[in-house]
């Protein structure tokens, strides 16, 4: 697991912890902070996974990480529950770590 992937997973887990432990609407402020981290680190992950391309799953998940960050940002406005908002970020950050294709 690279440093960037580690930071992404940590941010997603942090967002999950916040979604569980912190009530609304304060939780959305924390989700914003984690979303900013995911957005920036996700951009770096795209470059890392694309150059060189080793795993399509990892690249796809990296591309989807900023999108998942945006979902966390708009969750408060769209009245989506914080737990539900964190799920995409958890999936796209953890999937490349959990599923490692044999090379």
């Amino acid at each position: 697991m690279t440093i960037l992937r580690g930071i992404s997973v940590a941010a997603a887990l942090g967002a999950l912890a916040a979604a569980i432990l912190v009530g609304e609407p304060e939780v959305f402020g924390l989700l914003w902070l984690f979303a900013v981290v995911l957005f920036i680190v996700g951009a770096g992950s795209i470059a890392a996974d694309a150059f060189p391309l080793r795993s399509r799953l990892a690249l796809t998940c990296s591309v989807l990480t900023p999108v998942a960050a945006l979902v966390m940002v708009v969750a408060g406005f769209a009245r989506v529950g914080p737990l539900l908002a964190v799920v995409p970020a958890l999936v796209v950050t953890c999937a490349p770590v959990v599923y490692r294709p044999k090379t």
């Binding site: 960037l4 957005f39 920036i40 680190v41 951009a43 770096g44 470059a47 150059f51 060189p52 900023p66």
Partner: protein, 365 residues
Amino acid sequence: MEQLPRSFRRLRLALIGVSMLCALLVLVVVAVFVYWDRYLLGPSSGPFERGPFVTSVAEDSAALAWTARGDDAVELRAVSPTGSPVVARNGRFIGLRPGTVYAWTAAVGGAARASGSFTTAPRTLAQPIEFGAIGDYGSGNDHEYAVGRVLAAGRPAFVLTAGDNSYLAAFPQLLDRNIFKPLAPVMASAPLWATFGEHDVFWRNGAAVTSALHLPGEGGRYTVRYGPVQIVLLGLTAADESAYDYAKRELARRGPAVRFVVVHRPLKPGNPIIRLFRERRVAAVLAGHLHRYERRLIGGNLMFTVGTGGEGPGDERFTLATPGSFSLLDYGVLRVRVDAKGVTYTFVDERGRVLDRHRGSLTGP
């Protein structure tokens, strides 16, 4: 990763750094735009092109008019000091109490987009009435805006204008610039009852001003009542027979406790209408045309010239003081306060200074 050449690894790291920097930049730009939109930009320009402005106030009714940009419905409501609500229909409030200040709001799309207040006419002079008078003002310059602020600060019940409401001519396209914008603060609270000067009648005898201000008569010649106060507006001149006949008829009406006459051109000695005004006990004649403030007696009538609304004196050689008058070359407003015992006239210049004060009776000088 270890198998990659060193230069490739460096390039990769640079790419990662640039990507993260770009993402950070995107966030900063978005944050700046959001902040700009939510906290730096002012409110939208609003649904009104003109007004709402008060067009008439009587003892138990008042009317406002406006020009809106869209087709959205305008909810016009007013509240008295005791909390009694009134809803206007077609811009008109009815069933009001005399001598009462009503605060009005015009809401569009569920929010107030304009507001003001008006004072219904009292039945008697037990409650003093204050109004303002200006003339030769419609130039849209800084002086007119200043005069408009001084007018609004006096919170007049109504405003009389002695003509030349729009320079150089009263074309419909010029009225917002020359009348409605400079005088917007006072027009939100007081009707503007205007007579006409040369610059107004130049285009279709002032039809654009008559229509825009919702005046009750054409050519600047009509009569209005504000409770016990009667105002006879004669138009451009009081020197012709039709003006005499009109004034004679209107001043013969019974009821008013005090009468004022407004005409654009100042009266000249020898005009038979001067005697009529004296006989009908006109409190004062208000005129414009000369771009000065003047107070004088003419044939036993008190006459004010208030051509001080903003256009300015131009060449002083052509703006000479009338012999025998108290005369000032300035910009300003004549404030008039009518009470049960008499009338107080105060000339306030565009800086807010009181430059003349005169106490007259209800029936003349």
